[in-house]
């Protein structure tokens, strides 16, 4: 290295230090937390008015200042549109948005609940944590009791029955019974292990179809294969499928099948490991040559991989090229390829939709597997076979959403997507009473825990969570112009239907939430709120420097 090189690096280091030398503003203790709270209050005030069937709509100016606007009752949309001027308040808003977004991502719903809960925990936290308390201990206890709350939610949850599925779907589709019927029908047909996708219909009708398909827990190997950038998916219709477990290290190995595919402008999905060279070559051809293909690696590992690949090959009608059986990939011909009506390769999973109905080969394979399952004693093996049977027989539903105009179709599409997600969550973990009642039951349980002797920190944690659990129900009632005391003043009062203004049983009235949604909203709220409670110093960029 020459002298000038060294000098150059020295200057660079100096420069880097310079660039990070931005003056900061510091906020401490009460003052800082007060600002965080005022940020939280602002965002939650905007979001929480949308909660419940009597929730209000929020009007949002379009971000690009072109005069467009959004009218919505969706918590996430409201939350994501908010940015505040004060940097500390804005930090609080970003944290809340994070809780909301995480809930939406895992459970598909419950963002408003998450925000309401976060606000409640933080506010009650500020009230109940006095100078005598050790904040770290209180937060620790909050985390401990939040597990009790989750357990309580799980305990009070119910498995989903057919009629309830309809309710879950209708509620999540904003109380649209017709859409609820279509969605729950689709789910009833595909069964618990099945998958339902949402598509745009070509006409104004909304309907569901159920096709045979398999799900593979592997995504595309290169981003360049993506054809649908909105969902980050590679969608291939009417495609050929190559199934092999040996690594394709040279593109010329599969030249014999590429030729007819390219010349016949067909599509190809390669299920098999490709060396990075081959992936790059394929991706370059997709981008520059307009080829339609995708590559995913085989699912699972070891012997399980071998079995799964056999299943896939069988169900798409392909020959399985395996190292283990000494096949030579160079000898592959068009006849060895399988075929699927549609392949949707996402980042993490791929869905292969088959055209043919259950063939005889698949049926015999399922019979064999069932036989095998009854012969084995190992639990993990039995479960694995269950998965295989599900994937072989598993069907995939598609809901085609139609509308008379683009706007209507888009609006309906979003609702159906939400509802499908909610139904999936409900099927996965069951359902709880809606309208905030599930968390209210947890409040009663926490209330009873007060009788045991506790130290002041645990006591404070209990109070915080107990009051926070009431908040969603309270907010839903407030939005309907009622109050908690008015509706539930009698200890033995039944659940209250805010929409129809009658008392009854939430399950019977069809007011239910997926457990996963409520659980996630609560967990994320606790996580963000406790972070805010323990915050003591806040560092922000100074927005303006006074000279």
């Amino acid at each position: 290295m020459s002298y000038s090189d060294i000098n150059c690096i020295f200057v660079k280091i100096k420069y880097n230090q310079m660039s990070s030398y931005i003056p900061k503003n510091l906020e401490f203790d009460e003052l800082g937390r007060d600002k965080l709270i005022s940020g939280i209050t602002k965002i939650s005030k905007a979001v929480k008015s949308t909660l419940g069937p009597r929730g209000k709509t929020v009007l949002i100016e379009s971000p690009d200042h072109v005069g467009g606007m959004t009218i919505t009752k969706d918590g996430v949309t409201v939350a994501t549109s908010i940015f505040l001027e004060n940097p500390v308040e804005n930090l609080a808003v970003q944290m809340l948005k994070d809780a909301a977004r995480r809930t939406a991502n895992t459970a598909g719903d419950g963002t408003t609940t998450a925000i309401v809960l976060t606000e409640a925990i933080v506010k009650y936290g500020m009230n109940y944590i006095s100078d005598d308390n050790n904040v770290t201990e209180v937060v620790k206890s909050i985390n401990k009791y939040s597990k009790t709350v989750v357990d309580c939610l799980v305990k009070n949850s119910k498995k989903v029955t057919k009629d309830m599925l309809l309710d879950v779907a209708s509620i999540s589709a904003n109380n649209d019974r017709d859409l609820g019927v279509i969605i729950s029908d689709a789910y009833n047909k595909v069964g618990k292990n099945g998958i339902v996708t949402v598509e745009r219909s070509q006409n104004h009708e909304t309907y569901a179809t159920v096709t045979n398909g398999i799900k593979v827990d592997r995504g595309y190997t290169s981003n360049l294969f993506i054809t649908n950038h909105k969902n980050d998916e590679c969608i291939l219709e009417d495609t050929m499928i190559l199934v092999c477990d040996q690594e394709i290290s040279n593109i010329l190995q599969i030249e014999t099948i590429l030729k007819p595919i390219i010349q016949g402008s067909k599509k190809l999905l390669i299920i098999g490991a490709c060396s990075s060279n081959v992936v790059n070559t394929l991706a370059a051809n997709v981008v520059r040559n307009g080829l339609k293909m995708c590559n995913i690696v085989p699912p699972n590992f070891g012997y399980k991989q071998h079995e799964l690949m056999q299943d896939i090959a069988l169900s798409v009608g392909a020959k399985y090229f395996s190292e283990k059986t000494g096949d030579n990939l160079n000898l592959v011909t068009m006849d060895d390829l399988g075929h699927a009506d549609k392949v949707i390769a996402g980042k993490m999973q791929t869905v292969i939709i088959k055209s043919n109905q259950m063939t005889e080969a698949i049926e015999t394979r399922i019979e064999e597997l069932k036989e095998q399952q009854s012969n084995t004693d190992i639990v993990s093996d039995r479960e694995f076979i269950n998965e295989r049977i599900a994937s072989l027989s598993g069907s995939i539903g598609a809901i085609y959403v139609g509308g008379n105009s683009d706007v209507e179709q888009k609006e309906k599409y979003d609702r159906v997507e939400d509802a499908v997600c909610a139904v999936r969550s409900a099927l996965e973990e069951g359902i709880v009473k809606g309208g905030g009642v599930a968390l209210m039951q947890c409040h009663d349980m926490l209330y009873q825990m007060h009788q045991d002797p506790r130290n002041i920190d645990e006591e404070a944690a209990l109070y915080i969570l107990q009051n926070a659990c009431l908040e969603p129900a309270h907010q839903i009632l407030v939005n309907a112009g009622k109050s908690l005391e008015e509706i539930y003043n009698d200890k033995n009062a039944k659940d209250y239907d805010v929409k129809n203004e009658v008392y009854g049983d939430m399950y019977k009235m069809g007011i239910i939430d997926p457990l996963k949604v409520t659980k996630n909203a609560f967990e994320n709220a606790v996580s963000v709120a406790t972070t805010i409670l323990t915050t003591n110093a806040i560092v922000t960029h100074a927005r303006a420097i006074e000279l």
């Binding site: 040279n250 593109i251 030249e255 590429l258 030729k259 595919i261 060279n277 070559t281 370059a284 520059r288």
Partner: protein, 85 residues
């Protein structure tokens, strides 16, 4: 300027390589092949079969590249050439 004896001055050809199926090979795929494509700038005094301007395939490990009149030229021997196009 003229190469002596069996030496040949060539220039390498970089081009997009497509297989008969029409698939475009990436540069790293092409470099995996043992033989490279080139064009003869000047054959040596004793070279008989190869003429100026011929397209050839030659062993990629043979010869060295140097600048002659600001032009990157590769100098190989006649026996490194495997195919005349």
């Amino acid at each position: 300027m003229r190469p002596v004896g069996k030496y040949i001055i060539i220039e390498t050809v970089t081009e997009e390589v497509r297989t008969s199926s029409g698939i475009l090979l990436s540069q790293s795929d092409v470099e995996d092949f043992r033989y490279k494509k080139g064009v003869v700038i000047k054959p040596g005094t004793d070279v008989t079969v190869i003429e100026e301007g011929d397209g050839i395939y030659y062993d990629k490990n043979a010869g060295h590249t140097m600048l002659i009149d600001d032009r990157a030229c590769t100098i190989i021997q006649e026996r490194d050439v495997v195919i005349v196009l």
